[in-house]
Amino acid sequence: MISPFVLHQPDSIEAVGSLLSRYGSDAKLLAGGTELILLFKLGLASSPHIIDLKKVAGLSRMEFDVERQVLRIGALVTHRWIEQSPVVKDHFPLLVEMERTLANVRIRNVGTLAGNLCFAEPHADPGTLLLAYGAKVRARSTRGERLFDLADFFVDYYCTALAEDEVVTTIEVSKLPPNFSAVYLRFCPAERPMANVAVGVGWNDGVARDVRLALGCVGSKPFRVAAVEESLLGKTAGEIAAESARVAGEAARLCDPLEDLWGSVEYKRQVVKALVMDGLSRVLRENKTNG
């Protein structure tokens, strides 16, 4: 049973900031509620105050800044909105692909991307892909504004770097550079993904100049496998292909999955290997077809 709470429905970001300053840990932010309300129902969370963001002006916007080549996704933008946006499809097709597989359409109609990132559920889709995009998170409080690199935003299981009095206002996603091939893959035998990977390579003069490999669901937070990325820089497609088994094995070694009802640690590392191998193959194939 959900305990009664005082509902606040502020209409500005400033008002949200004031409420957060005032109530601190006695208040929780509500956007779509697909995670929070479920926790409340299961008795795993409760709060005497709820700050409903849905009436706050300015959070329901999604804009592509052509000049800076950045997509700004407001905190109230739902997964479904992103999934169906022609602008996102044109400039960020992987984002559309990822959103299409997320949970189910009912959750996507209501749940927000920002809410998903703030909840920091380890078995989630968006974080992994957005890391590969080098996304940033903008948050506000009465003390001002902070801009986080997504990599710094995730701290631990269900834990972000947000202070108690901060609210996320925008997610900023930079378009992938030209000559960059990328894929997003996930392995999801049950309800939530067991492992996912976002891998991409940017080419110049026939060699890899920009390598991004993000793994998710296999640790306390999604992460870029920096060691592997560095090891592939300056290599040709052929060289990368020849090393892909080593790379996959290295990525599997560097992740930290937990055993659960769906797989042992050893099996999950195997799945990571499979995803990384598959991802690399697709990226290299795409590069070939793009000449």
């Binding site: 049973m1 049950a190 309800e191 892909s244 009802l261 290997k273 191998m277």
Partner: protein, 770 residues
């Protein structure tokens, strides 16, 4: 002349269901109704030293708390074959989830608070979670005393063996000839072990019952597949005459054999009798998981064959994990045992089937009822045999399948359909002989597999009655105790009634199911209704028709042989009367009714091993084409074909719905459904960790082929359909996996890790340049 048999008439409950008007038990609101909730033991096995509900009782909004201390009943035990489950735990709790107290409160929130305020002093006892552990000589006895409600009445070839001081609660023994002689005659002997998981029925409607005790009587609303058995249990437990108990079955949101409402109905009556107000006891989804499950079954199967593949002897040992309370698991044990030699000619058979108590969620009936678990064993082994003999698996089946008219077991109903024809149809449908292109990427392997299974259908010891009343305006009302759980049975019964009375279907109504006014029916299960209740309904309609003809003959002063009923009219030579006209003539006053009665009872037959002839043979032949991902062990079913026989399809769309639905159940059980335990407790009592089949799991090529071999004992040659589809799925899929990879997996579900390890943990490799 027109017929409605074989017509896809609009289902009687269709409009209600698609508009949301259909009322299920949880939709009912009675004035003054309070909410019932239960407290569950968190330990797998524990003595209850003390239970104190005083604090809970005093909470505002709490109407009553029931524990062993204040539960006043004639007998506290319920159960099917064995009355082993106390309504509320007495001296001990036997599984994590066992009910130790019940509260009634003004709303759910208060009820939850009350549960938290009940103090229980548990003394944890050693627990056994597996059959092996329960059978060990040092295992704790889960039930100190086993009281059977009736001794099993087997016939020739079968016997019941009692085990004292054991967790074995049922042992079914069945033999045909001397199996050791059979093995001596065999050229090769195969011995294998197979395991089929425990699973949750997960009907979309969670278990719930409402009871209203007033004066000396009680009315109960419950989504039960056996409302008359529910009435019987209430009568026994509370010492009330049957005539004072009324069980009404609203719409039911799925059954699949899960004994829905068996426990909640008793708890609701107990609470309502105590508080003298209507009480609703509604289990949440996770509580459903903790109430009943499918027994996990291990089959140790030993088969002797000749070099040419002819089956000679089969010995099976079947072990069922019955959980803490047996429900119908002893019956499942019998059936799994009886079905373990499959649809084949095998001269020598020996089967021992054991239902064993453990400290896990009680197991019971589940769609398939031992048939699919037995089939998993014998059809997987059949392919092992075929492979060893370098024989085509289809050819091996061809050599051994029973033909139409041949005996399955001495004394029992012979095979009533063309199994060999079905095998050929299956092979063609799955394109068995077609050489498929292997996938370009060597990481993926494809293969095909088939399986041939049957189960004796129609149930045992069943008794069904029905009445058909022809009203003064010529319309008719059918009263039948068959429960509509989605299968379309009430529509089928309406069709039979309309057909026999030559009425259009919109002139026939099926009355609501109410044990006060509906004649007795044993239960809706075992794919039996079309055959068992169908014959009762047909006879009732024919009885009504005959009475009408006699009344007309008498009124018109003609011999009854000259009176006909055609297209809803009484015809004598060239003259015709509409039914309203005839009714007016026959019954001088306005009004009057013709009441037709019919019944069907299965009679005991000493010559049959199970003590009764099987009404019919339900067929479940399956063919699967799968793709295996060697890197992750993930399995995709690309194509699935189910072949079965309905005898005669009274409603083809409903038959198809049943067969496809059953096959999807089989797919879930084969690929991802299993209940898991950790620290003595269910680890996955929810849909996040217990995966049900979704749209994405529907194979892109999925077909149910339902034949009409006209051999059914039901009306118009019909048989039951509803469980066949589940029988062949697991072995067909595992046989396909073997065909694809050369690896034999002997346990389902085929979750990724299980498959990957069985394959030898293939490494992720750089693919060879294509």
């Amino acid at each position: 002349m027109s017929t409605v048999i074989g017509e896809n008439v609009p289902r009687v409950d269709g409009q209600e269901k698609v508009t949301g008007r259909a009322l299920y038990t949880g939709d009912l609101k009675l004035a003054g109704m309070v909410q019932g909730k239960v407290l569950r033991c968190p330990y797998a096995h524990a003595r209850i030293r003390r239970i104190d509900a005083r604090k809970a009782e005093t909470l505002p909004g709490v109407v009553a708390v029931l524990t062993r201390d204040n539960l006043k009943v004639a007998t506290p035990y319920i159960g099917a074959m064995i009355k082993d489950q106390p309504v509320i735990a007495l001296e001990k709790a036997r599984y994590a989830g066992d009910v130790v107290a019940a509260v009634a409160a003004l709303d759910d929130a208060v009820a939850e608070e009350a549960l938290k305020a009940i103090e229980v002093d548990y003394e944890e006892l050693p627990a056994v979670m597996s059959v092996d552990d329960a059978l060990s000589p040092t295992a704790p006895l889960i039930h100190e005393r086993i009281e059977r409600s009736r001794p099993p009445a087997y016939g020739r070839g079968a016997s019941y063996i009692a085990h004292e001081h054991s967790n074995i609660c049922h042992h079914f023994h069945y033999e045909r000839g001397d199996v050791n002689e059979g093995f001596r005659q065999s050229d090769l002997v195969f011995e294998d072990e197979f395991v089929y998981p425990t699973a949750q029925h997960y009907p979309m409607e969670p278990t719930i019952s409402v009871a209203s005790y007033e004066g000396d009587s009680v009315t109960v609303w419950s989504p039960s597949q056996a409302p008359f058995a529910t009435r019987q249990e209430i009568s026994r437990v509370f010492g009330m005459p049957l005539s004072r108990i009324r069980v009404i079955v609203p719409h039911v949101g799925g059954g699949y054999g899960g004994s829905k409402g068996a426990l909640t109905s008793i708890l609701a009556v107990a609470l309502s009798r105590h508080v003298r107000r209507p009480v609703r006891v509604a289990f949440s989804a996770d509580e459903n998981f903790k109430t009943i499950c499918q027994p996990q079954i291990k089959v140790v199967i030993k088969t002797g064959v000749k070099k040419d593949g002819t089956f000679v002897a089969r010995q099976s040992r079947v072990y069922l994990n019955a959980g803490a309370y047996v429900y119908s698991t002893p019956s499942v044990a019998e059936k799994a045992g009886y079905r373990s030699h499959g649809p084949y000619h095998i001269p020598y058979v020996l089967t021992d089937s054991y239902a064993v108590y453990t400290n896990t969620v009680p197991a019971g009936a589940f769609r398939g009822f031992g048939g699919h678990q037995a089939a998993f064993a014998y059809e997987s082994q059949a392919d092992i045999i075929a492979h060893r003999l370098a024989m085509d698996p289809v050819e091996l089946r061809r050599r051994n399948l029973l033909g139409r008219g041949e005996e399955y077991a001495a004394g029992d109903t012979p095979i009533d359909c063309d199994l060999k024809g079905m095998l050929e149809e299956l092979a063609v449908a799955i394109e068995w002989d077609k050489k498929e292109e292997p996938p370009k990427d060597p990481r993926f392997k494809r293969g095909k597999g088939i399986a041939c299974a049957v189960k004796d259908g129609g149930g045992s010891g069943k008794s069904a009655s029905a009445t058909v009343r022809i009203m003064s305006d010529g319309s008719a009302v059918l009263s039948t105790g068959s429960v509509e759980i989605g299968q379309g049975v009430r529509t089928t019964m309406l069709q039979i009634t309309a057909e026999e009375l030559t009425l259009p279907t919109d002139r026939v109504e099926v009355a609501a199911l109410d044990t006060h006014t509906t004649p007795f029916d044993h239960s809706t299960n075992a794919s039996s209704a079309t055959v068992v209740m169908g014959q009762a309904v047909q006879r009732a309609a024919q009885d009504a028709r005959q009475q009408l003809l006699s009344a007309a003959a008498s009124t018109l002063s003609v011999p009854v042989e000259e009176v006909q009923l055609r297209e809803g009219r009484i015809i004598v030579k060239e003259k015709g009367w509409s039914l309203p006209e005839i009714m007016r003539l026959c019954f001088a006053n306005v009004g009057g009714e013709v009441v037709g009665r019919g019944s069907f009872n299965q009679i005991r037959d000493e010559n049959v091993p199970l003590g009764q002839r099987s009404p019919f043979w339900e067929v479940g032949f399956g063919g699967a084409e799968v793709e295996v991902d060697e890197w992750t062990g993930a399995i995709r079913i690309l194509k699935y074909v189910s072949v079965t026989d309905a005898g005669k399809m009274i409603h083809p769309v409903h038959c198809r719905g049943q067969d496809e639905g059953a096959a999807m159940f089989g797919i879930g059980l084969s690929l991802f459904e299993e209940l898991l335990y950790e620290d003595g407790k269910l680890a996955n009592p929810n849909l996040i960790d217990y995966r049900l089949p979704r749209f994405r799991d529907l194979p892109h090529s999925f077909a149910s082929r339902i034949r009409e071999d006209a051999g059914g004992p039901g009306p118009y040659g019909a048989k039951g359909v509803g469980e066949g589809g589940i029988l062949g799925v697991a072995p067909a899929v595992c046989n396909a996996v073997f065909n694809a990879t050369g690896v034999r997996i002997r346990q389902v579900p085929l979750k990724g890790e299980r498959v990957w390890r069985a394959l030898g943990q293939p490494a992720v490799k750089t693919p060879v340049r294509q």
